[in-house]
Subunit: 437 residues, 2 copies
């Protein structure tokens, strides 16, 4: 069948057969279907959706475009990974991977860079002097065998078709489609060869899916798709009304992750990390007592074992392990500007989207995939949602490269923060759990 | 604004401003927006539609991509043209252009090739030995000044953006969109510099718009768009349940057009041609007595004046004028195979789509824009809808290049023809008239 006939069928709302869709994607992979046909197809998918069968075929085709690891049959500890749909201040992976490794699981983690208003784990790791995220698969597996976790950027050996499709979606306004998002996420995780996956699906103003109901649909689709590909999956819906933790910006977030790794730091970061860690353990140790698992994990943060594991990881991947004991080893911005409250009252709003954009504008993130990031810049949030604050009291500290960029971040914070006479009601931090159990 | 942001707005159902859409199309024309962004945009337009304002901007941008003629202010006779949405056996243009020229109007006609199951005026003209349809605009205007009509293929000087968009739509399943179709048609006609346009919008099984209500929407959109660009426009909705006239195939249709031009030939061809000619005259001679106009036009067919004008046109464009008196000057196919009725009864169905496909398969049309056509092949319909016929009586004569292709056309005719005990009710040949009056 001609490519345009397949596109026409998707345009008209028909369901493509496994053979049709697989053939179309293979022809695209081989360079026989041009980008202009694929982009018309992707727009038709975005507007007309995909059936579960089509989604499974798309996911499988992306997996089959590259190598597939297998940590399930080598006799080693259960391999697990986590994916977050993207938030502001989300440094959970930096804590979770060494914590789970310390618990006895393996965590072969491949992460992305920040994009749009959200940060990315790879950018955060690269703010550690010397840390190498571009390992090939052999080195990746060697680190994993040594440390129990390994954290790298996406490699072109895994799911290369996803990279091509994502680059095309990025410039053709076809990113925000639930089936396309799910196929992209799950294909890469399945190809990692893991046994279980936990998904942190954010909802609220700073999330990709602002609408809670849409976030639930996304979570259910992700979980169903992973399970259909043989990977146990659990999703937690977690709040992204305000940034997670008290820092936004790469080196600042590494500092905060280090604090969490030895039992300190903000309560929300610790809570989301422990909730996701607990689900990871329960996914591979079916029937384990939940409270006991949680308390074991918490003690590994409190007694420094998780931090020691993180130091091993940093050192093994070429980074300076001094960052765990000496925050000065991390980059520092030349300008620190305090932003003060204009009124007396409660902080009623700390809009995660606006704060994310402010950090990107400071240089902590990128607008386009190919951009550079500045590891040192970012924002510390001294006052958070629900805090009582006096006029003139410091609300946030802006870490900037220049006075100008600090001033424009301050203007953006003016839009992000809201104040009022009564404290706001908070959305639940961990709102829902989605599984197929 | 970035191209992907504009695409996103159209994807989300927003209306683009004149400046945004015009800028996007200009950037595409200049090669700065790649085909893969345009095709995603076109699919979003197809699925989300366009506002009247957006459609006007699209049309104007296509016009402005090339030269624009002007026959309105040169003191010559009123210039008019006709466009048909495409049918099977539709040779109206070959009769209409010389007839209106004889009446005293100017007809600067640019036509297309056949595509899909429908024929094209350019292919029909090119079956006349020597006839040149590829004139440049200077030669086109010289023929028009001499003869009163000129008939050429689309030139790259007029609306070149339409050619690029059409080629992209053809391979990305984005052809069947009312706004995209209307912008393509009207932009080219406006750029011809005419004063009035008549539109023959087909409905029924052989039409592009099978559904009568959809055909009315198409007619209304075409008329409104032409009027908004300052061209008086009238549309007639005409039946395309069965082919128009009794022949399908290029040289066969020229023969039939010649018959019509001297007052003979099938009644339906004569009726549709006169109805469109009458509308053309009334569009530029407001208030003229309709019956008198019709009878003047009919007499020009009956007394041979229209045919003489056609002979002048053929000669002036390099063709053999003998075709008007001597049909042997036209190509003849080596095989003539009679297809006979399998039953006694009335002809209840002569599916124009199937007959069009049969003609294409014989070689009279093309599946792809770049294909060649065989002028000689085609189908003569001896029995038509409503005719009473005996078993074994000849229903059609297949003009073929080979016995094999004749046999496969015969199988296709078996699907096209239906027979029954009672004569069918015919849809009205000229069903509705759409104007802004």
């Amino acid at each position: 069948m001609l490519a345009q006939e397949l596109i026409a069928r998707k345009r008209d709302g028909a369901e493509l057969t496994d053979e049709e869709l697989r053939g179309f994607l293979a022809e695209y992979g081989a360079g026989h279907v041009p980008d202009y046909q694929m982009s018309a197809f992707l727009m038709a998918v975005l507007l007309n959706d995909m059936s579960a069968a089509e989604l499974a075929t798309l996911t499988r085709s992306i997996i089959d475009s590259g190598r597939r690891l297998d940590f399930r049959s080598d006799g080693g500890p259960p391999a697990v990974d986590k994916h977050s749909t993207g938030g502001v201040g989300d440094k959970v992976s930096l804590v979770l991977a060494p914590l789970l490794a310390e618990y006895g699981l393996r965590v072969p983690m491949m992460s992305g860079r920040g994009l749009g208003h959200t940060g990315g784990t790879v950018d955060k790791l690269e703010s550690i002097p010397g840390f190498r995220t571009a390992l090939d698969l052999d080195e990746f597996q060697a680190v994993l065998a040594d440390v129990g976790c390994a954290m790298i950027r996406q490699t072109p050996e895994i799911a290369p078709l996803d990279g091509r499709l994502y680059a095309l979606r990025d410039v053709t306004a076809t990113v925000p489609s639930i089936p396309l998002i799910c196929a992209s996420i799950i294909s890469k995780k399945v190809a990692e060869g893991i046994e279980a996956l936990v998904l942190d699906v954010k909802y609220g103003s700073g999330a990709f899916m602002r609408d809670p109901d849409q976030a639930v649909v996304l979570a259910e689709t992700l979980v169903g798709l992973a399970e259909s590909e043989g990977v146990r999956a659990t999703a937690l819906l977690t709040a992204m009304e305000q940034p997670l933790g008290e820092t936004v910006g790469n080196a600042l977030e590494v500092r905060e992750a280090v604090a969490c790794l030895h039992g300190e730091g903000p309560a929300d970061l610790r809570e989301v990390t422990l909730a996701l860690a607990e689900e990871s353990v329960l996914a591979v140790e079916r029937g384990a007592p939940r409270e006991e698992v949680r308390s074991d994990l918490a003690s590994m943060l409190d007694d420094g074992r998780a931090l020691a594991r993180f130091a091993r990881l940093v050192e093994r991947q070429g980074g300076d392990p001094a960052v765990v004991s000496n925050p000065e080893a991390l980059a520092d911005a030349p300008i620190r500007a305090t932003w003060e409250s204009p009124v007396d009252g409660y902080v009623t709003c700390t809009d995660a989207y606006e704060i994310g954009v402010a950090a990107v504008e400071l240089g902590a993130g990128r607008r386009r995939l190919e951009g550079e990031v500045d590891p040192a810049v970012g924002i510390e949030l001294l006052a958070r949602r629900g805090d009582r604050i006096e006029r003139g009291e410091a609300v946030a500290v802006i870490h900037a490269r220049s006075e100008n960029s600090a001033a424009s971040a301050a203007r953006r914070l003016g839009k992000a923060y809201g104040f009022g006479d009564v404290p706001p009601e908070d959305p639940p931090l961990v709102w829902k759990r989605v599984t197929t159990d």
